[in-house]
């Protein structure tokens, strides 16, 4: 950890963390609420030393430029918000199909359609179910604070390179816009970055490389997909992350992520004043979803309440994990409303006698 501690906006912290992770290729299109990410990159990307900041013609242009830079063996990133991420789905499928590493940042806003520019968690399905076509997964990392956003962005590049897949950093307009003190990671040097013998770097002294997602034969494509499935299994075993706060036998278990996960901590404190013992399960990897840990915890509770800024998306993974073993109610607001601790506590009290 470096000793830098700066008061930064979420969008800026994410951008700075990416630069410190050795990302020298950033392509994006302006969209609220992540414009500050572009602005930081436009100013700070070391362009004279060969770094690229490019405002692309569209989000589609940007994701395909990421495809190209990644194919060339370089760390590359794009960022956008919900409607722009919809445009990128084809590109993300292609990145996955070509086994290319990339980091894609989604600062979620209200949807569907043009929606609004308020924070939301309406893209959980899009992020975790792979909004693009075909059998693929992307690691999805969900920070709940500005410092965590910086940390997870920094690690996203390592995960992407290690497993050769796209990694989505799923934040929301609240995290993107709010300011917090951040301890930034120590910048990596070029020698710290992993070698990529598979990249298109010019076939000098080796046989040519092809970066390709096309496989006409059923066996050929089947095998390519099976190889990816094996990597996904490895990721599920090794890279699942969650935060658990509270006692082993709470009155109720709250499940929330991102900004809602942060607010859930306030709900805990408020509940304690009323004599209610709440625990919080905050998934940090939304894919792979930490279902084993959730199952373990739920054995000691009667009710698991999922709270999201959406009409109900994370709740499906919670129910998939827990089945009928425990009550799994849902509370959510979509459209950009951010439920406050008092409101959530009222909901909690319905389930706690």
């Amino acid at each position: 950890m470096s000793s830098d501690k700066l008061l930064m906006r979420g969008n800026e912290a994410i951008a700075e963390a990416a630069l410190r992770a050795g990302c020298r290729n950033y392509f994006a299109y302006p969209i609220t609420p992540q414009a500050e990410l572009l602005e930081w990159m436009a100013e700070k990307m070391p362009q004279k030393e060969g770094g690229t900041f490019l405002q692309a013609e569209s989000e589609i242009g940007a994701i395909n430029m990421v495809f190209g830079a990644s194919a060339a063996g370089e760390r590359a990133m794009t960022s956008s918000s919900s409607p722009g991420i919809s445009l990128k789905q084809e590109g993300i499928s292609y990145l996955a199909g070509a086994d290319l590493p990339a980091v894609i940042v989604n600062i979620m806003r209200g949807g569907p359609g043009l929606g609004n520019i308020r924070p939301s968690q309406g893209d959980y399905f899009q992020a975790t179910r792979g909004g693009g076509h075909g059998d693929y997964r992307t690691i999805v990392l969900a920070p709940s604070t500005v410092p965590e956003a910086a940390q997870l962005t920094f690690e996203a590049f390592d995960l992407a390179d290690k497993y050769r897949l796209p990694v989505v950093l799923l934040a929301d307009g609240m995290i993107g816009q709010m300011m917090e003190p951040v301890s930034l990671p120590t910048p990596l040097e070029e020698k710290d970055l992993p070698e990529k013998p598979w990249a298109v770097s010019g076939a000098a002294g080796r046989s040519p490389n092809t970066v390709n997602s096309l496989a006409l034969g059923a066996a050929e494509l089947g095998q390519a997909n099976e190889r990816r499935e094996k990597r996904y299994e490895e990721i599920k075993k090794k890279e699942t992350r969650e935060e658990i706060v509270g006692s082993d036998r709470p009155d109720l278990l709250l499940v929330s992520y991102g900004t809602m996960g942060r607010i859930a901590k306030s709900v805990r404190r408020l509940a304690a004043e009323r004599g209610i013992d709440l625990a919080l399960f905050r998934p940090i990897t939304l894919w792979p979803f930490p279902q084993n840990r959730l199952r373990q915890l739920s054995k000691e509770v009667n009710t698991v309440l999922t709270v999201e800024m959406s009409s109900g998306q994370l709740i499906e993974d919670v129910r998939l994990s827990l089945g009928n073993e425990v009550e799994t109610p849902f509370y959510g607001k979509s459209g950009g409303a951010v439920p406050g601790p008092g409101e959530i506590l009222k909901e909690v009290e319905k389930y706690v006698p």
Binding site: F27, G61, G68, G73, G91, G202, A204, T210
Partner: protein, 257 residues
């Protein structure tokens, strides 16, 4: 004593360029993609670029060119070649990057990406193969289809009222300040093939010299979807297509760049 016969030997004067491997092309008989692929291979050989070139294969009949080019190749989503080539070149400007696209890739689904790579003057070499229709998917109308031309989606012949006019992408991009070199060539006979090859080499040379964006549009035959044999198809390019898409250099700003 009779004079000694002159010493002679047979020398190879034409053969497969080294940047192409032994794989057979999957193109139809008489398809100009084959000639154009070979010319690019010859240019790469003659300019000694084999070890530093990265090519792109579009979605279309030439999607498999990564099989026979003995260089690094990337295969992007349909239409996105100009954006992907931008990404490769920006990430590693030491590479020589070529974009290879057909009608749909370059002028339809990829229009936005194509226009902006040109407008930014990306230092890449773009090959646009224009055969006035969509080959691989069964001969549908393309933005470049001629008026009156029958395709699988214009069975009565393209009419401007419903389907607009043949899109002249090269002329359109020439109105932008970004591009350095835009030319339209053809490969329907030996003199034109030789001219096309010179244009291809120029496009690569300008990239090596850092002079910016080069676009070489190449009129091509599609015997299969035109319903013509290869010799007739070549004639069709000369007599019909070239009348709508004239040949020659449209813009060459290399002196100023």
């Amino acid at each position: 004593m009779s004079p000694e016969p002159p010493a002679e030997e047979m020398r190879k004067v034409f053969s497969r360029p080294a940047s192409l491997n032994e794989e057979k092309f999957t193109y139809c008989p008489g398809c100009h993609h084959g000639i154009i692929n070979r010319l690019i291979g010859e240019a790469i050989d003659e300019l000694e670029l084999k070890e530093e070139t990265v090519g792109t294969a579009p979605v279309g009949c030439s999607v498999f060119l990564y099989r026979w080019f003995d260089i690094d190749v990337v295969q992007p989503a349909h239409g996105r070649v100009s954006a992907v080539a931008t990404g490769i070149k920006r990430a590693n400007p030491e590479l020589t990057v070529f974009a290879y696209q057909g009608d749909g890739d370059f002028t339809s689904i990829g229009t936005g990406n194509s226009v902006h790579a040109a407008n930014r003057g990306e230092n890449i070499t773009v090959f646009f193969v224009n055969n006035t229709l969509y080959g691989m998917t069964g001969g549908e109308m393309a933005p470049t289809t001629l008026l009156g031309q029958k395709t699988s989606t214009t069975p009565e012949g393209r009419n401007s009222k419903d389907f607009g006019y043949p899109l002249k992408m090269s002329e359109m991009l020439a109105t932008l300040e970004g591009p350095t070199y835009i030319t339209r060539q053809a490969v329907y006979d030996v003199p034109h093939i030789k001219k096309a090859k010179e244009a291809i080499k120029k496009g690569f040379r300008y990239q090596l010299q850092g002079k910016g964006y080069s676009l070489i549009e190449l009129l091509s035959a599609c015997p299969t979807n035109w319903g013509l044999d290869p010799v007739q198809a070549n004639r069709h390019v000369k007599e019909k297509v070239e009348q709508v898409f004239p040949l020659g250099d449209i813009v060459d700003r290399s002196e100023e760049r």
